[in-house]
């Protein structure tokens, strides 16, 4: 039996999860990150202007002038006064969001090609970026100074995540390679067999899949990687969501998560919940779904269907507030608790 990560917050009940708000944005969304105070969501999408959306009323603030391409990921500082956005232009942009007109603090050509992944270390000091150039780069979050550059893959890096102790940065790429690297010196620490998340379709001559979701448990003993499998028609969006759970000490895969009747889905994001349940965000031709998996079963124990296909998900530091980024230009707020009377 899997043990809980930490005490669930008051009212926590993922089986009572419900959409509590939905706020329109400018264009179809790709990513969303909730600020540490759980007051706003930073969203990016199919245009070059990120937006900050107030959870309470949907009021939007545009972060203009930073990017020349789509926004693929975002990250916050611990005090929620600054954020960083990552674009298809290979650029990282640091923003001061304390005013109604956010100001650019730093704009750095960080990667050759898209930057798909950002992560912040648990102590809030280090930012990790992962790009199509195969590099994972570490930055001082306070002043944007580069720290270490790790040649993590020959292929596109899709996701990064720090270990809970902040000593490791894990990466996942297009071909299912999952590895962790020492933050101190950039050397490889461990490698996990994520191949089930990659497929090469000979008929269509394409690599497909990759590590779209990556998350350590709070105790660092397990690492979950998510994406897709059964891509019988990659070009036609026929594929099913798949999650893999590894033990970090043995590197062995101890669980494969699949789903019931989702012929078109992929896990875009993973978040461990307070009770040890995994919340996965699946989007695809089967729609947008939050899938809840336990360590005791392959199939989900609960699901919440959302009104539109989703592309990303984040969990607030309160353990109750969930944001999802959708194609229909909405960011949706879900509460992992019963509806208020």
């Amino acid at each position: 039996m899997f043990t809980a990560n930490y005490a669930p917050p008051a009212g926590f009940d993922f089986k009572a999860a419900h959409v509590s708000a939905q706020w329109p944005c400018e264009k179809p969304l790709i990513c969303c990150r909730i600020d540490p105070k759980v007051e706003t969501v930073l969203v990016g999408g199919e245009w070059g202007t990120p937006e900050r959306v107030k959870i309470a009323d949907g009021k939007r603030t545009k972060l203009e002038g930073g990017h020349d391409s789509w926004i693929f990921d975002a990250a916050w500082t611990a005090d929620a006064t600054r954020c960083v956005t990552a674009g298809g232009d290979g650029r990282l942009v640091w923003w001061d969001v304390t005013s109604e007109k956010p100001a650019i603090l730093h704009r750095i050509d960080a990667h050759n090609g898209w930057i798909r992944a950002l992560s912040v270390s648990p102590d809030g000091k280090t930012l990790a970026s992962g790009g199509n150039d195969g590099f994972v780069k570490l930055w001082n979050l306070a002043d944007a100074k580069p720290l270490i550059s790790i040649e993590a893959s020959k292929r596109n890096i899709y996701r990064t995540t720090f270990s809970p102790d902040g000593k490791l940065i894990a990466s996942g790429d297009l071909i299912g390679a999952v590895a962790s690297w020492n933050v101190a010196d950039g050397k490889e620490s461990a490698r996990y067999e994520g191949k089930p998340l990659h497929e090469f379709n000979g008929g269509q001559q394409v690599d497909f899949g990759g590590v779209r979701a990556l998350a350590y448990t709070a105790d660092g003993k397990r690492l979950a990687a998510g994406g897709l499998h059964k891509g019988t028609n990659p070009l036609g969006a026929v594929h099913e969501p798949l999650g893999l759970v590894f033990e970090t000490d043995t590197k062995k895969m101890i669980r494969q998560w699949t789903a019931n009747n989702i012929p078109g889905g992929v896990f875009w994001s993973f978040r461990w919940l307070a009770d040890g349940t995994m919340m996965g965000a699946s989007g695809g031709s089967s729609g947008g779904l939050l899938l809840f998996h336990s360590m005791d079963a392959d199939k989900e124990v609960h699901r919440l269907a959302l009104p539109n296909i989703l592309r990303d998900m984040d969990l607030g530091t309160d353990g109750l507030t969930v944001a999802t980024a959708h194609h229909d230009r909405h960011v949706r707020i879900t509460r992992l608790a019963a509806k208020k009377a």
Partner: protein, 429 residues
């Protein structure tokens, strides 16, 4: 000068062919015959000019927005940016930096509107220059070029498809021109299968057995000659000639530096083989890059595939230019259609035939040019609209053929290109 064929009129194959032809054409004629041009320009003359044609078939439908007609910063532009090229004012997608450097050799036709979003029908239109109808079957460009341009004595077949996989088969693209103009499929950068004399048969013994085969075949042909038997005989003789040119199909001996220039990909190897075949006298090559039918994750797939194409294609163009072969080789990059400017909910683009791009280079076409224009978000052609039929005329004219000429199929004139269309004169030089 007209040439007629003397097939036996009563063979089952011929009878069937005649019936089929009568049925579909509604008039007399012979399908699969040794038709010649109805007017002056003899194929022999064209063959001596050593004109060559290479088609890059971007199977599935290359996105014009992620290649030759980018629209960055618009609602349809996608995440990629555009880059400058060697021709000031012409920008292409950032996924093609190497192609950008050879833009001065290229001619972009950005106003293509074929109004056909079906894969099969679109492919047919782009390769035959005609809209598909149940009333007639038309030969593909490879068969037309093989017939019009290839030297019959050339040991390298006139119509070759280069695939990433195995080869050895023959296609069925020649329609009324007959199976001898159908393609030979070669693949994997290896010589065609079974083109090596078995080691336990001496050269003398091989010559003797071929003589016996010819005598037997001739006896049969004297009474029962048909397009099929002609093709059969032709295939044997061509295979014998081909055996003397096996090494033309083998890229294993190419220096590693050359292989690196084309890229470590199937397409790179296909292009290197293509260059080698052109150097050895090939007339028509079709190189397929698959698969661009990206309804799902269009940008990820183009991110994988377009750079692969960019690498191989730019090296190919560069090599032809350096060798002085580009002036006599027409290179065409086509698909069955383009992809929708609108981006669907799976990050995909669907089929879009109303505004897309065909690229040409080399023989007979303008260099460093962009003809035609689409609107700011790429949904419509705003200038220089052309279709498949006009393009087909243009290909023929570019290699020195008169596209208004006809094939003589047993006395019946069949226009090489759709008579209702005209070439794009503005890009012909």
């Amino acid at each position: 000068m007209k040439r007629r064929c003397d097939y036996a009129c009563h063979s089952p194959e011929h009878t069937m062919a005649r019936r089929q032809f009568l049925g579909v054409m509604g008039a007399g004629g012979i399908v699969g015959g040794l038709g010649a041009f109805t007017t002056g320009q003899a194929s022999d003359t064209l063959a001596k000019q050593q004109k060559r044609v290479v088609v890059f078939n971007m199977h599935g439908g290359l996105s014009q927005l992620e290649s030759f007609d980018p629209k960055p910063g618009t609602d349809t532009g996608g995440p990629f940016r555009s880059i400058e090229t060697s021709v000031p004012g012409i920008r292409i997608c950032e996924l093609m930096p190497k192609t950008a450097k050879v833009m001065h050799h290229l001619c972009l036709v950005r106003g293509v509107n074929t109004s056909e979003d079906d894969h099969g029908k679109g492919t047919y239109m782009m390769l035959t220059g005609r809209r598909q109808t149940p009333a007639a079957e038309y030969p593909q460009i490879g068969s037309v070029m093989a017939k019009a341009l290839a030297d019959e004595a050339n040991p390298v077949p006139g119509h070759i498809l280069i695939t990433p996989g195995g080869g050895g088969n023959r296609g069925n693209e020649a329609a009324y021109l007959g199976p001898r103009y159908s393609s030979l499929v070669v693949g994997g950068g290896k010589p065609p299968q079974n083109t090596e004399r078995p080691k336990d048969i001496t050269a003398e013994a091989d010559t003797l057995r071929q003589d016996v085969r010819r005598q037997a075949a001739q006896k049969f042909l004297n009474r029962r000659r048909t397009a099929i038997t002609d093709a059969y005989t032709h295939s044997y003789e061509q295979a014998l000639r081909l055996m003397t040119k096996r090494d033309a199909f083998d890229i294993s001996g190419e220096p590693q530096k050359e292989k690196d220039r084309y890229g470590d990909s199937d397409l790179g190897r296909q292009c290197l083989l293509g260059r080698r075949l052109l150097e050895n006298g090939a007339t028509f090559l079709q190189i397929t890059h698959s698969n661009y039918d990206t309804h799902n994750e269009n940008f990820n797939f183009h991110l994988e595939q377009v750079p692969e194409f960019d690498h191989a294609f730019a090296a190919f163009i560069d090599d032809l230019a350096v060798r002085g072969m580009l002036e006599s080789t027409l290179v065409i990059v086509l698909s069955e259609f383009g992809r929708t400017p609108g981006i669907n909910l799976y990050y995909g683009r669907d089929h879009w035939s109303r505004a897309w791009t065909v690229t040409m280079a080399g023989c007979g076409v303008a260099k460093g040019a962009a003809y035609g224009k689409t609107n700011p978000n790429g949904t419509e052609v705003t200038d220089g609209q052309v279709d498949h039929a006009a393009l087909f005329h243009t290909y023929l004219m570019a290699v020195g053929l008169d596209s208004t000429e006809s094939f003589d199929i047993e006395g019946r004139e069949v226009p090489m290109a759709d008579p209702s269309a005209k070439p794009i004169k503005a890009i012909l030089v």
